[in-house]
């Protein structure tokens, strides 16, 4: 009983949103926009749920004195302190702002910037000519890199790089997008029709697992 209720809800919610695209009836348009709004609100509830989850996991680790429990102390302390500051002083307060700018934002940008190192090490490792595939990958990547800096100016590299981005890159990405869209349509149709119900923790009827 409880299983069918869940799949019925999925069906109704999904069909309404899809119908909104095809039909211009005010009732459906209104229902669809209400539904999407509701799911935004539900995700706000889930965000808090995620936090509760984190609290539970680390509290358990602490009480069991499992390996690295000291790290859990740091996490819990920073989380609780930050919640108290955020909820009592507000996100506009100077303490919140100082930590936000110098700790949070600073760490974010630095971690994000690690991509600069990783893009180099991944290129070093994988751009080795082993066949036609990797040869093409290597040649186009190097051509574009040359074109994007002051290095290849003399050999019209900037123009070649622009062309590579504009033509072959567009073609490849477009083909992938079209295929991906078909896959997306197909999987979401299955979700709406209740044929892809692994998410609800149910056993599907059709599947055959060995």
């Amino acid at each position: 009983m409880k299983l069918t209720l869940a799949s019925l809800i999925t069906l109704v919610a999904g069909i309404t949103v899809v119908a909104d695209y095809f039909v211009a009836a005010p009732v459906i348009n209104h229902a669809a926009s209400t539904f999407t709004q509701w799911s935004v609100m539900l995700s706000a509830f889930s965000t808090a749920l995620g936090g509760v989850n984190l609290l539970a996991v680390h509290k358990k680790r602490l009480s069991q004195r499992s390996a690295n429990w000291g790290l859990s102390v740091i996490l819990l302390a920073s989380m609780v302190a930050w919640l108290v500051i955020g909820l009592s002083l507000g996100t506009e307060s100077s303490v919140y702002k100082f930590i936000w700018d110098n700790v949070y934002s600073s760490l974010s940008s630095t971690l994000f910037a690690l991509n600069a190192f990783f893009i180099a090490s991944a290129a070093y490792r994988s751009f080795r000519v082993k066949g036609i595939d990797t040869l093409i990958l290597l040649v186009t990547a190097c051509a574009v890199m040359l074109g994007r800096t002051g290095l290849g100016e003399a050999y019209r590299m900037p123009e070649i790089a622009d062309w590579l981005i504009r033509v072959p890159n567009t073609a490849g990405m477009r083909g992938i997008t079209i295929g991906g869209a078909l896959g997306a349509i197909s999987v979401s149709a299955r979700v709406i029709l209740g044929l892809e119900r692994g998410y609800a923790g149910e056993r599907r009827s059709g599947g055959s697992y060995q």
Binding site: A116, A120, G131, C142, L146, R148, T149, L151, I165, T170
Partner: protein, 287 residues
């Protein structure tokens, strides 16, 4: 043996090479020259053609994660706009837009004697991205009854005579997403030219519009910012960083070359490896 070691170089050496290739030119600039691309030249040309009575929409639609690339573009373009005495209206499509508008003008306004309200105005944040751009294009005054600080727009000298979006001379959008495309779709058909400054990731999606002329100019990433700085003859942060860019790219290219050379040599000495290479996996990267 050396070739084998080179072929399996520790990642940390790669990191160190990249790090130094950026640090050294920042410390001791090389002063490599760069050419100015067509897209940047077009933006520069359009701005040069502005007259004193023209009002321009500047839209800082980028986010902190790409600030490093796009903010220098905006700084250079604003410097040019201010030197042309153009009036500016900042449109804010992101939560952060207003901060960028305030920050940049705080730095530039004193130098050029610009005054808030008289020479420029910051319009309030309008959520909704695409719908926001559509609203601005369809009904400018209706969308913005007041500026970001609550003053009625009718009382602001910088936008006197502006009735609709077509009264603006130009829209300059600095973006990391689709906002320039929205301006192209909604504002451009109303007869106002759109130019964009974009992050390197977004540029491939914008170049098709440059080809069709719907986009009148395009500044591409940090290199674009450097080009603009050199075009207006005011070397700034981006131009100073170009040496680091060029050198870091060169170091990656050199590493790739080295890696290939080394693996070629070590493979040639190792017949068994060559045999393994032949076992190609049907559809996979030829490992």
């Amino acid at each position: 043996m050396i070739s084998k070691k080179l072929a399996n170089l520790d990642s940390r050496i790669v990191y160190a090479v990249v790090f130094l290739s950026i640090l050294l030119p920042l410390w001791r600039p090389l002063g490599l020259s760069i050419s100015v691309s067509d897209g940047t030249l077009k933006v520069h040309g359009l701005l040069n053609a502005l007259s004193q009575d023209d009002t321009v929409i500047v839209s800082p639609s980028f986010t902190p994660s790409t600030e490093a690339e796009v903010y220098p573009q905006m700084e250079a373009v604003l410097r040019h706009l201010l030197s042309r005495n153009a009036r500016i209206a900042f449109a804010c499509l992101n939560v952060e837009s207003q901060i960028y508008a305030e920050e940049s003008m705080a730095a530039l306004a004193p130098e050029f004697g610009y005054e808030y309200g008289v020479d420029y105005v910051i319009l309030p944040f309008t959520p909704g991205m695409e719908t926001a751009v559509a609203a601005i294009s369809n009904n400018f005054l209706g969308t913005y009854p007041r500026d970001a600080y609550g003053t009625p727009l009718t009382e602001i000298e910088a936008v006197t005579g502006i009735r609709s979006v077509s009264d603006f001379a130009l829209i300059v959008d600095f973006n990391t997403g689709n906002t320039a495309i929205y301006y192209i779709q909604y504002a451009n058909p109303r007869g106002v030219r759109v130019v964009a400054g974009a992050s390197g990731v977004t540029v491939p999606y914008l170049t098709p519009y440059l080809a069709t002329g719907q986009l009148s100019g395009l500044i591409d990433g940090m290199r674009g910012a450097a080009e603009y700085e050199s075009a207006i003859g005011y070397p700034g942060e981006a131009l100073a960083a170009m040496d680091a860019q060029s050198l870091s790219h060169a170091s990656i290219l050199a590493l790739i070359g080295l890696g290939n050379g080394a693996s070629f040599l070590s493979k040639r000495g190792d017949a068994r490896d060559a045999e393994q290479k032949k076992q190609s996996y049907g559809g996979e990267l030829d490992e």
